[in-house]
């Protein structure tokens, strides 16, 4: 039994699985629909830079409305802010209150009535404070019942305001050096400047997208492995395969290869949806993304193979694989960082292979990390995958001839 012949056997098993699959119209349709719908739903649930637009906010500008006031500059800057599709991010309402306290009450009730998602109170002495170099506070009130929107608002608003602060400071410095008596608060709202803010400011969806990719993959495998192993056991064809001289490992590896190809295809579909419909960014190399997805599949294959070998039938196997996959979704840093989880849970999270896959994907997609930055994750995935694959190979022989 040569290695070449074992690899050939492997390839034929893979061919058979894929051929069977390609002739079943239902399964082909599901292959495309599943990642598509999954990613679309996530994209619409979580706000991102492409879909958020015309958010109503109230601005209580107590600092005067003439061209010279900073309050006005802020108002103008917010007005000129667009999302990546060029649509205005905010729909501004001018609040005409005369005191901060009154403004606060009015904004609060408008938020509670869902008329606005946030409010800004610009204090009356803002321009004076800046001129004199004293500290001054601009109050930003957000609707915390809508946490994702709150976060978006907070980050955008603080960026706008701090950018303004920088340009004012720059003007100040220039004025001093040049002995000009230029009005230091003549900041013209530059729409072009602010557009750059949004793409560089990842939304919650951008943060989620790598993790969702991993989730799509794991659920695909959670149904795929039971189908390919337990179903064949059920209908009796597994006996036929075992009775031939091909090594049992060729059966397993051939099927894993077929599942890998299907998994990567679905990962690609999900990625395309995330990038082209929802504007998620892949700052790093696509090849690296797919390498990580491949290793992610490899790391789960062994576990799911084990489960499918021991289960009596396909339904049981699928029940167990999905039972494992569900909690893993939440424990692997997809929705929020692991450091935010209870201390006793963190060691468990750090053992799960999905944690490493998600972490590597986030680094590559969000931060543009090169391969050297994800070496620990790669090693963990390879080791985990190998250990379980060996276990699966070993037990498959014994389980199949029980």
């Amino acid at each position: 039994m040569t290695l070449i012949s074992a690899l050939e056997d492997c390839a034929w098993v893979c061919w058979k699985d894929l051929k069977e699959f390609s002739r079943s119209k239902d399964q082909v349709v599901m292959l495309v629909l599943y990642p598509l719908l999954f990613m679309v739903i996530f994209g619409f649930i979580f706000p991102n830079s492409n879909t958020v637009a015309n958010q109503p906010i109230a601005v209580a500008n107590l600092d005067g409305t003439n061209n010279g006031s900073i309050g006005y500059a802020i108002y103008d800057a917010l007005n000129a802010t667009n999302n990546t599709n060029g649509v205005p991010y905010f729909a501004l309402k001018n609040a005409t209150n005369t005191s901060e306290a009154a403004a606060f009450d009015s904004i609060k009730s408008e938020i509670q009535n869902k008329q606005i998602v946030a409010g800004i109170i610009i204090p009356a002495n803002l321009t004076e404070c800046v001129e004199n170099g004293t500290e001054c506070n601009i109050t930003v009130i957000t609707d915390q019942a809508n946490p994702q929107m709150s976060l978006e608002m907070q980050s955008i608003l603080s960026q706008v305001i701090s950018y303004l602060g920088t340009s004012i400071a720059q003007k100040e410095v220039n004025a001093t050096l040049l002995h000009f008596s230029v009005n230091p608060i003549n900041v013209t709202p530059l729409g072009i400047h602010f557009q750059g803010l949004i793409p560089g400011n990842p939304s919650y969806f951008d943060f989620l997208a790598p993790g969702v990719l991993a989730i799509v993959i794991i659920f695909v495998l959670a149904t795929g492995f039971p189908r390919t192993i337990s179903y064949e056991k059920d209908i009796g064809t597994m006996d036929g395969l075992i009775m031939t001289p091909i090594p049992k490992s060729s059966i397993i590896l051939g099927k894993t290869l077929a599942q890998t190809i299907k998994g990567l295809l679905q990962g690609l579909i999900a990625l395309l949806v995330a990038v082209y419909i929802f504007g998620a960014v892949v700052n790093g190399s696509i090849a690296l993304v797919f390498l990580v997805l491949f290793l992610c599949i490899f790391s789960f294959a062994g576990v799911f193979l084990l489960i499918s070998s021991f289960a009596d039938n396909e339904t049981t196997a699928t029940a167990v694989t999905t039972m494992i996959s569900m909690p893993m979704m939440f424990l692997s840093g997809v929705f929020f960082p692991i450091s935010q989880m209870p201390a006793w849970l963190q060691p468990l999270c750090n053992v799960l292979p999905m944690t490493y896959a998600v972490s590597a994907l986030q680094k590559v997609m969000l931060l543009g990390a090169p391969i050297s930055a994800i070496v620990p994750e790669i090693i963990y995935l390879i080791v985990f995958g190998t250990v379980f694959m060996i276990l699966a190979l070993f037990t498959f022989r014994r389980v199949m001839s029980r």
Binding site: E20, G236, M243
Partner: protein, 340 residues
């Protein structure tokens, strides 16, 4: 002995709380057609699976084609073929694709593989269907492919598990004819399980009667039937116009009657022993007011032999609790097709 292709010693298989195969010791000669006859749940399929190295025995040993089933499984598999009760084929692939696929797994080199596939398809009249997906075939057609698939590697020994279950009479007869043909032309040893008396009687050289995991008798069909007629046992069929369940029970209760079975509305068949069997039966019937149309003494059939040996009726035996052959393996598999 040299011409024994299969030899088992005390072969046993236990599942959680039941003994499916109970210390079976049999020997099968080269070139014979050997039958395993028994009701559902008797252990036939489990025994076959062990001999095919698909299941590991709990106790005992066996050699198939001269190799030990526990340690030389891969050598055994080169020499055997299995026509399983479940179809070993992929519904989405065509007949030819299925055969070629398994041929490749058997490492049959190319020009030879295609030749063999075409020959086999011709043998069962399926050449026209070579490029159609198997999922669309009727049960009979699928079974034909199932059988030739097992012949791809030209096995010395062919195991068949209920090969004609669920097939129409025409196909049954064709398949049996085909099996005889393989047996005579290639000297292939056939081991088949069945609960169809006619099949065991006509096809098999020797028959092992299996019940509850044990071999109750092993002999040629003739000898088994002689077991019935060699004794004082008579097989009598009575046609009673107004046969009722009560009357049937009272016949069964007679001392001379060993077993009885009601065949239909008016016929009852009994095995009875003794000098005055006819008198006793006729008296019992007439006293109860029964009207006898006819009363015949029959040559014992294999079914009678089975009845006597196991004390069970094959026809209406449902699976007794705790005596399932293999958890999860159901006889209705063929009817409830995986390809529907």
């Amino acid at each position: 002995m040299e011409n024994m292709v299969i030899s088992t010693r005390g072969l046993t298989k236990r599942f959680a709380n039941l003994v499916a195969v109970d210390h079976v010791s049999i020997e099968v000669r080269k070139g014979e057609i050997f039958g395993l006859l028994g009701p559902n749940g008797a252990g036939k399929t489990t025994l076959i699976r062990m001999l095919c190295t698909l299941a590991r025995p709990s106790e005992g040993s066996a050699t198939v084609a001269g190799f030990d089933i526990r340690s030389e499984g891969s050598k055994i598999r080169e020499h055997i073929g299995l026509v399983s009760e479940k179809m070993i084929m992929y519904a989405q692939l065509t007949a030819k694709e299925n055969l070629r696929l398994f041929g490749r797994f058997y490492h049959i080199p190319q020009p030879e593989l295609d030749n063999r596939v075409n020959q086999l398809l011709e043998l069962v009249d399926m050449e026209k269907w070579a490029d159609k997906q198997i999922g669309r075939f009727s049960t009979g057609m699928k079974q034909r492919i199932n059988v030739i698939r097992a012949l791809l590697n030209e096995p010395d020994i062919l195991f068949l598990d209920e090969p004609t279950l669920g097939l129409d009479p025409q196909t049954c007869s064709e398949i049996r004819q085909f099996l005889r043909q393989i047996n005579t032309t290639h000297e292939t040893t056939l081991i088949l399980t069945t609960h169809i008396m006619v099949e065991a009687d006509n096809l098999c050289n020797r028959i092992a009667i299996i019940d509850h995991g044990k071999v109750a008798a092993l002999d040629t069909s003739e000898n088994l039937k002689r077991m019935v007629s060699g004794s004082e046992m008579k097989v009598i069929e009575i046609d009673i116009r107004n046969l009722t369940n009560d009357l049937a029970s009272s016949i069964d209760a007679l001392n001379c009657v060993k077993t009885s079975s009601r065949l239909n509305e008016t016929h009852i068949r009994v095995q009875a022993e003794g000098e005055e069997v006819f008198d006793e039966i006729i008296d019992a019937v007439r006293n109860a007011g029964g009207k006898i149309n006819s009363i015949n003494r029959l040559d014992p059939t294999l079914e009678d032999a089975f009845l006597q040996i196991t004390g069970n009726e094959v026809r209406d035996l449902s699976v007794a609790p705790g005596s399932m052959e293999r958890p999860g393996l159901r006889k209705t598999t063929r009817a409830r097709s995986a390809f529907s």
